[in-house]
C-alpha cells in the first residue's frame, strides 16, 4: 500500500479565466495531519474543494490510493472516502442534529427514535456536548461546528478536510477538537486542515504546505517551521512584527464619552452589563463564547432588543437611545461590522460597488427611493481603492472574493456611513495575514481620527495589539477593565474565566 493516500499534480482551476490555483502539486500521506496555510485568496479553499468534489479541476490530475479520480460531486468524493467540514457550515438548519448527522444515509424505513439514540451514542463517544434532538438553527456556531465534525467522522472517511475548523471554538472546545484530530490520526485517518491561526498549524500538523496567490510555495515538516518562516512564505515579506506586534508602550488618551451602557439586560445572554466607550480610543472587548459581548453591541446597534421591562439604559453622547431597527442606529452614527459576514454582512450576489452603496443608502433620510448607478459606482470605486479591495473588477460579485476582501467590503459598507461609533465584531475572523495587517491599520487610523472604536475579539493577541483599553466580559457582563499598558494574556484570561 502506497504511503500517499491522496495527491494532486499540476492542479489548476480557472474562474472566468483567472486561476484560483495554478499548477499546484500536493501530496497527503496516510495517517498524517497536513496543514494548509496561506493568505485569503491563496487558493486553499479551492484546493480542498477540488479534493472534496465541490469543484472540478480545469487541468491537472488527482489520485486517491494510486488511482486517478475526478470526483464531480461531494457524494462521489465521499464514496472515495473523502469528507469535508466546510467553513460555512453546510447543515440543514430546520432539521435536528441527529437528522443532519444521518442525512444521505437514511434507510428505507427510519425510526426517528432510533436515529436519536444512535446519534446520542455517537456524539457521546466523541465527547461532544450536543443534544441530538436540538434543531440546528438553534445551536451556536461552536456546536454547529461540532455537528459538522461529527458528521465527517460518522461517514468513516479516510481523508477528512477541515476548513477553518477552530474559528468559532472556545479554548476548551479547541482542546477537544485537537484531541479528536489526534484520535482520528491514530485510527489511520488522514487530515487536511486550513487554519489562519498559525500556532494551531505548528502545534497540530505533521507537515505544512504554504500556498500563495494560487501557487505552491513550500511543503515541509512542521518541526522545521516557525511562525516567522510560515508568515514569510505566506506573504513574501516579514510581517511578524507588524501582525499582533509587540506590547503597546503608549495608549491613546480617552476623549469624550460617546457610548454609555448602564445595567443592560437581555435574558439570558446579557446580565446587568455596564460599560463606556470613549472617542479617539480603541476599546477592546474580550470574552469567551457566551460572554454576551456580541449581544450587548447588537442591542446598542439596534439589531437586537433589550428586555422589555427594566432592560437598562443606553446613552449615545449622554442622550438615552433605544433603537427598534438598525437603520435608526446607523442614522445616529453607530456602525456595527458583523462577525458573521456571510449571513449578515453583504448581499453575496450583488457587486462590490452595489454592496458598499447600500451602506450609504441605509443612512439616507427617508424619501430617497432610487439608486444612482453612477453614484454607486463612484462610491464603490473610492472605497475599493481606499481599503485596497483586491478584485478583478468593480462589478464582480462579493461571493467571488476571498474572505479578507469580503471583510473589507463589509467594513467599507459601514465606513461609508461616516459613523461616530464603529463596532468591529471579530474583524479578522477567517481573514488572511496580509488583510489582517491592513484591517488593523484601518482600525488604528479610525481611532486616530477621533472615532470611538470598539473591537470585539476572541483572539487575545489581536485584542492586545489593537486596544487602548480592554474590557473583559464574562457571563453577560463586563467584569474587568485593563489598560493596554498593564494587560497580560494571563490577566485577561483569568478575568474571563474566573
Amino acid at each position: 500500500m502506497s504511503e500517499i493516500i491522496l495527491s494532486l499534480s499540476k492542479a489548476t482551476k480557472l474562474y472566468a479565466g483567472v486561476p484560483a490555483i495554478d499548477g499546484v502539486d500536493f501530496e497527503l500521506r496516510r495517517g498524517e495531519i497536513h496543514a494548509l496555510v496561506g493568505e485569503n485568496g491563496a487558493g486553499k479553499s479551492t484546493l480542498t474543494k477540488v479534493m472534496a468534489g465541490v469543484v472540478a479541476l480545469t487541468s491537472g490530475a488527482m489520485m486517491v490510493d494510486g488511482t486517478a479520480v475526478a470526483p464531480k460531486t461531494p457524494l462521489e468524493a465521499r464514496q472515495l472516502g473523502i469528507a469535508m467540514v466546510f467553513q460555512e457550515n453546510s447543515l440543514v438548519p430546520t432539521m435536528t442534529v441527529a437528522q443532519n448527522l444521518f442525512l444521505g444515509q437514511e434507510k428505507f424505513y427510519n425510526r426517528l427514535r432510533g436515529i436519536y439514540i444512535a446519534a446520542q451514542q455517537f456524539l457521546q463517544s466523541l465527547n461532544f456536548d450536543v443534544t441530538p434532538t436540538a434543531t440546528v438553527s438553534g445551536l451556536g456556531a461552536a456546536k454547529k461546528q461540532m455537528v459538522e465534525i461529527a458528521r465527517a467522522v460518522l461517514h468513516k472517511a479516510k481523508v477528512i478536510i477541515f476548513d477553518e475548523p477552530t474559528a468559532t471554538l472556545t479554548p476548551e472546545e479547541k482542546k477537544y477538537f485537537f484531541d479528536l484530530v489526534r484520535d482520528l490520526k491514530k485510527r489511520g485517518v488522514s487530515i487536511v486542515f486550513i487554519s489562519h491561526a498559525l500556532e494551531e498549524a505548528l502545534l497540530l500538523a505533521d507537515r505544512i504546505t504554504v500556498l500563495r496567490d494560487g501557487k505552491h510555495v513550500v511543503t515541509d515538516d512542521a518541526s522545521r517551521f516557525d511562525r516567522t518562516r510560515i508568515v514569510q512564505a505566506m506573504v513574501g515579506r516579514d510581517l511578524s512584527n507588524t501582525l499582533y506586534g509587540a506590547r503597546k508602550d503608549k495608549v491613546r488618551t480617552a476623549g469624550r464619552r460617546v457610548l454609555t451602557v448602564q445595567n443592560l439586560k437581555m435574558a439570558p445572554m446579557v446580565k446587568n452589563n455596564s460599560l463606556s466607550v470613549f472617542a479617539g480610543q480603541i476599546t477592546g472587548v474580550f470574552g469567551l463564547v457566551g460572554a454576551g459581548r456580541t449581544e450587548t453591541f447588537k442591542i446598542v446597534s439596534g439589531v437586537m432588543k433589550r428586555d422589555f421591562f427594566h432592560g437598562g439604559e443606553i446613552l449615545l453622547n449622554d442622550k438615552p437611545v433605544r433603537y427598534r431597527v438598525p437603520a435608526a442606529a446607523v442614522k445616529a452614527g453607530i456602525a456595527y461590522v458583523t462577525e458573521d459576514r456571510k449571513v449578515e454582512g453583504f448581499f453575496e450576489t450583488a457587486s462590490i460597488a452595489r454592496n458598499i452603496y447600500l451602506g450609504l443608502l441605509a443612512k439616507f433620510p427617508s424619501g430617497r427611493a432610487w439608486l444612482s448607478r453612477r453614484e454607486s459606482n463612484a462610491a464603490g470605486r473610492a472605497w475599493i481603492d481606499r481599503l485596497k479591495v483586491r478584485a478583478t473588477g468593480d462589478d464582480i460579485k462579493v461571493v467571488e472574493l476571498s474572505g479578507g476582501n469580503q471583510q473589507k467590503v463589509v467594513i467599507a459598507k459601514s465606513l461609508i456611513q461616516d459613523p461616530e461609533l464603529i463596532i468591529f465584531d471579530e474583524p479578522t475572523r477567517g481573514v488572511d495575514v496580509g488583510a489582517i495587517v491592513e484591517i488593523h491599520e484601518l482600525i488604528n487610523r479610525l481611532a486616530d481620527e477621533g472615532k470611538a472604536v470598539v473591537v470585539i475579539s476572541s483572539y487575545l493577541p489581536e485584542i492586545m495589539a489593537l486596544s487602548d483599553r480592554i474590557l473583559v466580559s464574562r457571563q453577560g457582563k463586563v467584569v474587568e477593565e485593563f489598560s493596554a499598558l498593564e494587560a497580560t494574556e494571563e490577566k485577561i484570561m483569568y478575568a474571563a474565566i474566573h
Binding site: Q262, S276, H310, V478
Partner: protein, 364 residues
C-alpha cells in the same frame, strides 16, 4: 395628560426617568485600591475640611481648627460649634463656616475676632472657596436640612441647594444659584464657579450671568468638595458611590416615607461614609461575599473616591477605596508639600499619597 401617561408607562416598564441604572466605574474611573495604600497621617474624631496656607495644612476637626506643620497636629483654636467648611483666602485670611449657618472671616488664623461675619439666610454651608476677585464662594446644601442631616435631604429628594458669593470687603452676600440638588463643594474656574451637585451626580459650571453648564455628568458617585490642582485642573472628592438599591429606594416615595418615619436613621437604605459596624446595616455585598471575604466589586454601602480632573473638567484618573476597603467617605482633598492630603471621614483619618507617584503611575 400625555406626560402623565408617559410617566406611568415608564414606571411600569422601567424606562425613562424610572430607569434604575448606575453608570459604571470605567475609563478614568477604573477602580483601584490606591486609597487603601495611602499613609494615614493621623486620626481625628470628626474631620470635615482641609485648607492650605503658605506653610501649613489646616484641618477642621469638629469644633477645633488644627494645624499640621511637622508630623503631629496642633490645635490652633476652637469654636463653639463644629466647623462645616474651611478656606484660606489671599493675605493669610481664613474663612470658616460654623454649624452650616454662619461664615466667619479672620484676618489671620490667630486673630481673636472675626473681621467679617456672614449669617442670616444660610442653612447648611458645607464648602468655601476663594474666588480670583477676592470674594468667597460658599455652597449651601439645603435650606431644609442641616449639614449633618444630608441623608434625610437625599431621601426627600432635596433640591434647595444654593451658591453664594460673599464679599468680605463690603459684607454683602449675593446668591449665584439656587434650586440645586444638594450643592456640596465649589472651586473657581476662570470667571465661572464649579459646583458639585451631589444628588444629581454632576459637576456644573455657573457663569457670572447665572447660566449653568454641566461640566461632568452621570457620575457613579455622589461628588463632594473640590480643590484646585497645582498644574491645572481639580481634585474632586466623592463621599460615596451610587448603588442600584439606593437608586431604587429613591424612586419609591412610599417606602422612603415609612423608612424615615419608622426606622432608626443609622439603618436607613442610604449611602454612608463608613459601613460594616452592625449586622443590622443593609448589607449589599452579601451575595458576593465568598469564603468570608467581600469581593472588591461588591455593591458598596460606603466608598472612597478622588477624581483628578483636567482643567476642562474631563476626568484623568482616580483613586479608589472599594467595598472591601476602609478609607471611605472622602470629603476633602488638597495638595500640600508634594503630597495629596485627603480626609477619609468614614474611619476619621487624614491620608497622604505622594503626587509624583500618582502622576507617574496612573496619570501619565
Amino acid at each position: 395628560m400625555i406626560a402623565a401617561i408617559s410617566e406611568f408607562a415608564n414606571r411600569f416598564l422601567g424606562r425613562g426617568d424610572a430607569t434604575i441604572t448606575v453608570p459604571s466605574f470605567d475609563g478614568a474611573l477604573k477602580p483601584n485600591q490606591l486609597l487603601e495604600k495611602a499613609e494615614t497621617l493621623f486620626a481625628c474624631d470628626a474631620p470635615e475640611d482641609l485648607a492650605v496656607d503658605d506653610q501649613s495644612l489646616l484641618i477642621a476637626d469638629g469644633a477645633r481648627l488644627l494645624r499640621l506643620t511637622g508630623s503631629s497636629p496642633t490645635v490652633v483654636r476652637s469654636f463653639e460649634r463644629p466647623i462645616s467648611a474651611l478656606a484660606v483666602l489671599p493675605a493669610g485670611r481664613v474663612a470658616v463656616a460654623l454649624g452650616g449657618t454662619e461664615v466667619h472671616v479672620y484676618d489671620n488664623i490667630t486673630a481673636k475676632a472675626p473681621a467679617s461675619v456672614f449669617s442670616g439666610d444660610m442653612h447648611a454651608v458645607n464648602a468655601l472657596a476663594s474666588a480670583p476677585d477676592g470674594t468667597l464662594i460658599a455652597t449651601d446644601g439645603s435650606t431644609l436640612r442641616g449639614v449633618s442631616d444630608w441623608a434625610r435631604d437625599l431621601m426627600e429628594l432635596g433640591d434647595s441647594g444654593r451658591v453664594f458669593q460673599l464679599d468680605p470687603k463690603t459684607g454683602t452676600v449675593k446668591q449665584l444659584a439656587n434650586g440645586l440638588h444638594y450643592a456640596l463643594g465649589t472651586a473657581a474656574s476662570g470667571s465661572d464657579v464649579l459646583v458639585s451637585e451631589s444628588w444629581r451626580h454632576r459637576l456644573v459650571a455657573i457663569a457670572p450671568s447665572g447660566a449653568r453648564k454641566v461640566v461632568l455628568g452621570r457620575l457613579p458617585v455622589y461628588p463632594s468638595r473640590l480643590a484646585a490642582a497645582s498644574d491645572g485642573g481639580f481634585w474632586l472628592t466623592a463621599f460615596t458611590a451610587r448603588t442600584q438599591l439606593v437608586e431604587f429606594v429613591l424612586r419609591e416615595p412610599a417606602f422612603r416615607r415609612r423608612m424615615i418615619a419608622e426606622i432608626d436613621p443609622d439603618y436607613w437604605v442610604v449611602p454612608r461614609l463608613s459601613s460594616g459596624h452592625s449586622f443590622k446595616e443593609p448589607l449589599q455585598g452579601a451575595h458576593i461575599k465568598t469564603m468570608g471575604i467581600m469581593k472588591p466589586w461588591a455593591p458598596p454601602r460606603s466608598y472612597g473616591l478622588v477624581i483628578r480632573l483636567a482643567a476642562d473638567g474631563a476626568p484623568r484618573y482616580s483613586l479608589h477605596s472599594r467595598a472591601d476597603g476602609v478609607n471611605h467617605g472622602i470629603v476633602a482633598a488638597v495638595e500640600f508639600g508634594g503630597d495629596l492630603i485627603m480626609i477619609a471621614k468614614g474611619p476619621g483619618r487624614i491620608l497622604k499619597l505622594p503626587l509624583a507617584h500618582l502622576d507617574e503611575g496612573i496619570g501619565a
